[in-house]
Amino acid sequence: MNLEFTPEEQAFREEVRAFIAENYPKHLADFGMREDMAREDFLAWHKVLGKKGWSVPAWPVEYGGTGWTPTQRYIWSEENARINAVMPLPFGVSMVGPVIYTFGSEEQKAKHLPGIRSGEVWWCQGYSEPGAGSDLASLKTTAVRDGDHYVINGQKTWTTLAQYADWGFFLCRTDPTAKQQEGISFILVDMKTPGVEVKPIKLLDGGYEVNETWLTDVRVPVENLVGQENKGWTYAKFLLAHERSGIAGVARSKRGIEKLREIATHETLDGQPLIKDFDFAKKVSQLEIDLAALEITELRTLAGEQAGKGPGPESSILKIKGTEIQQRLTELTLEAVGTYSAPYMGGVSNDNGSNEHPVGPDYAQHAAATYFNMRKTSIYGGSNEIQRNIITKMILGL
């Protein structure tokens, strides 16, 4: 047993670090994900990576993947997190892309994969419905065959960043008489098709990250069906397993703790830096300890993957602990910021949009919004309760 990376892996890290230092867009340095990001901010780094051939590292090489080992991919994400880079969005790269190259037709692969790689086509996910969140299989949106088209009717919700989307992948009921999990199909929809209407939902943090998506008599050519009709649940589950890998966010949380310590050296309590206060420092240490455990747990999972075990139900542990840590981190950051957590900075960027100087220190600007925003992490991607159900069945066998 050892925790060290091989010399080859170290060399790879150096290469990656140099590439990032040279090519990462300067104006997005230490940007992460913010409620005030524009479409181009999201895509800038993705496009650079597309040209380099690094935008879809986990894909098979024949579809444009890098052929990196799981450890190399881990190093890649660590190096990006080190500068809090804006990473390619998952909807194309980690969700629909793998479904298309695994289950899609040759035409679908040729048509859609290049745009995902290059970052030119923006995808959104049409899974959740107002009455079907964690109970995904109870979805009601229908797709009825009419000649060589499907006619889709229904309402989706929490459609993340659909306001920018060119294409969406939707789960629709194609056989209303079948049992819940059967009779669902996985259909690709051009978001410009008449009848598709996207209405933004304003969130707690003041931003517009998610939408209601209404589909009224949307006519979609049958060649947009992925795989077989009524087999969509299989593809949906495949996609969810992919979504959960990499969800631990260890490297990003490490960077977050570093920033938290920085903040707590500037903030004061009883005339001393806040970080010198034992009660506060203790919470930071506790978080660091839990994160250390998560990091090794993720590396153990990676090692298993490298030895040929696919991402299994263990990834649910990564989801639960990873999101709990992310939430506690943003909570502690909010706590560290203290009084200046209160001023509301608006849902749009103050740095670009307004001449007014922000209230309070720079690091306080986004603390509250980020804390509010991160409440989503234990809810999305299969709520943490659903993750516990998965472990119950798949690992405990109950």
Binding site: M1, N2, L3, E4, F5, T71, R261, F278, A281, K282, V284, S285, Q286, E288, I289, D290, A292, A293, L294, E295, I296, T297, L299, R300, A303, E314, I317, I320, K321, E385, R388, N389, I391, T392, I395, L396, G397, L398
Partner: protein, 376 residues
């Protein structure tokens, strides 16, 4: 990075696992800990025969060339069976002091005896008022000619009733709680002036209050440099903590598995209680806590050879995280077992007791959280 065990480590695990399964059943253990001896010397002899007692020593010192990972593998199996035999004080602690600080003569005298099973050690470091501070010592060792005279009282010395030898920490200079002036001694338990008051611990082991009254020892009893023992004590106790964490992981694994199994069998309202989601999620949280504890134990074990700060951070992280997991798993296991969980007859309560006392050994959660903060 690599999380695989070597073929040899796998064999050690299999051999021990078999021994524990076949000869260390719950009823046999219960009989042994209730006996006047309180342990099973014949198991100790078998461990020697299997090479377990020599595993973490280098071949040059007369061992089998293993290291911290081997100790981890061994302790985890012991934890699964709630083994009471004093591997930790003898091999990990006393062995550690000899390995890192012993003279050639001390190694020659003691390591061979440990490996063969002939010598059993206890580590007398805690004091009634010292809490978890290894430097907060009232025990003194005054220079007397070329030797020393020891006086003092050591608290809860695990395994002392079975021990032939003691490793003792004492102040040879400086003020109480000074970092310098701490020394480490090794001596036979029957050295004149050493008396003990022996008792049973709540988790089924044996321990003693050990009293030193004008105990005269020679210069050869001193391990390492006089007055500079603290760094050595910290190194050896960090190794002991990593090993203890592995033991706790073994115990947690079994406690969790027993609980899941029990929830399958036990029926309430006409269905197995394991079908209740509120209990399922609690067992998932136990499982998650266990996996996180394993990860921190690996981290601590693999960082024992790193620089001092890195080592201490990893070890404290493990003691905190494993301590919290041990508490959670112990308490929840009992709760889910219901009334049966609090009976002496069911094994689960005994795992709970061991996991409870784990926290107080070599610094509890609060202590190590403080150390982590201080190093951060």
């Amino acid at each position: 990075m690599d999380f695989n065990f070597t073929e040899e480590q796998g064999m050690v695990r299999d051999g021990l696992s078999r021994l524990v399964r076949e000869q260390y059943g719950f009823e046999e253990r219960r009989k042994a800990i209730a006996s006047s001896e309180g342990w099973r010397p014949e198991i100790w002899a078998q461990l020697a025969e299997l090479g377990i007692l020599g595993m973490p020593f280098s071949e040059a010192d007369g061992g089998f060339g293993g290291g911290a990972v081997d100790a981890m593998v061994i302790m985890e199996e012991f934890g699964k069976g709630l083994v009471v035999e004093p591997f930790l004080p003898t091999v990990v602690c006393a062995g550690g002091f000899l390995k890192h600080g012993g003279t050639a003569a001390q190694k020659e005298e003691h390591i061979g005896a440990i490996v063969s099973g002939g010598a059993v050690f206890a580590f007398a470091y805690a004091e009634p008022k010292g809490r978890y501070d290894y430097a907060d010592l009232e025990t003194t060792a005054k220079k007397d000619g070329s030797g020393y005279v020891l006086n003092g009282h050591k608290a809860v010395v695990i395994g002392a009733p079975w021990a032939s030898h003691l490793v003792v920490t004492a102040r040879t200079g400086g003020e109480r709680r000074d970092r310098s002036g701490v020394s480490v001694f090794v001596l036979a338990k029957d050295t004149p002036g050493v008396t003990t008051r022996d008792y049973v611990t709540v988790d089924g082991r044996r321990a003693s209050e050990v009293y030193f009254e004008n105990v005269a020892v020679g210069a050869e009893a001193l391990i390492g440099a006089e007055g500079e023992g603290l760094a050595l004590i910290e190194l050896v106790t960090d190794e002991a903590i990593a090993a203890l964490c592995a033991e706790a992981c073994g115990a947690m694994k079994v406690a969790h598995a027993m609980t899941v199994e029990y929830s399958r069998q036990r029926k309430q309202f006409g269905v197995p209680i394991g079908s209740f989601q509120v209990l399922q999620h609690r067992m998932v949280d136990m499982y998650t806590a266990y996996e996180q504890a394993v990860s921190l134990t690996y981290l601590a074990t693999l960082r024992l050879g790193s620089d001092e700060r890195t080592r201490k951070l990893a070890v404290s992280a493990a003691k905190v995280g494993v301590g919290q997991s041990a508490r959670l798993i112990g308490q929840e296991a009992v709760q889910i077992h219901g009334g049966n969980g609090v009976t002496d007859e069911y094994a689960i309560g005994h795992y709970f007791k061991r996991l409870t006392i784990f926290d107080s050994e070599f610094g509890n959660v609060d202590h190590h959280l403080k150390r982590h903060v201080a190093l951060s």
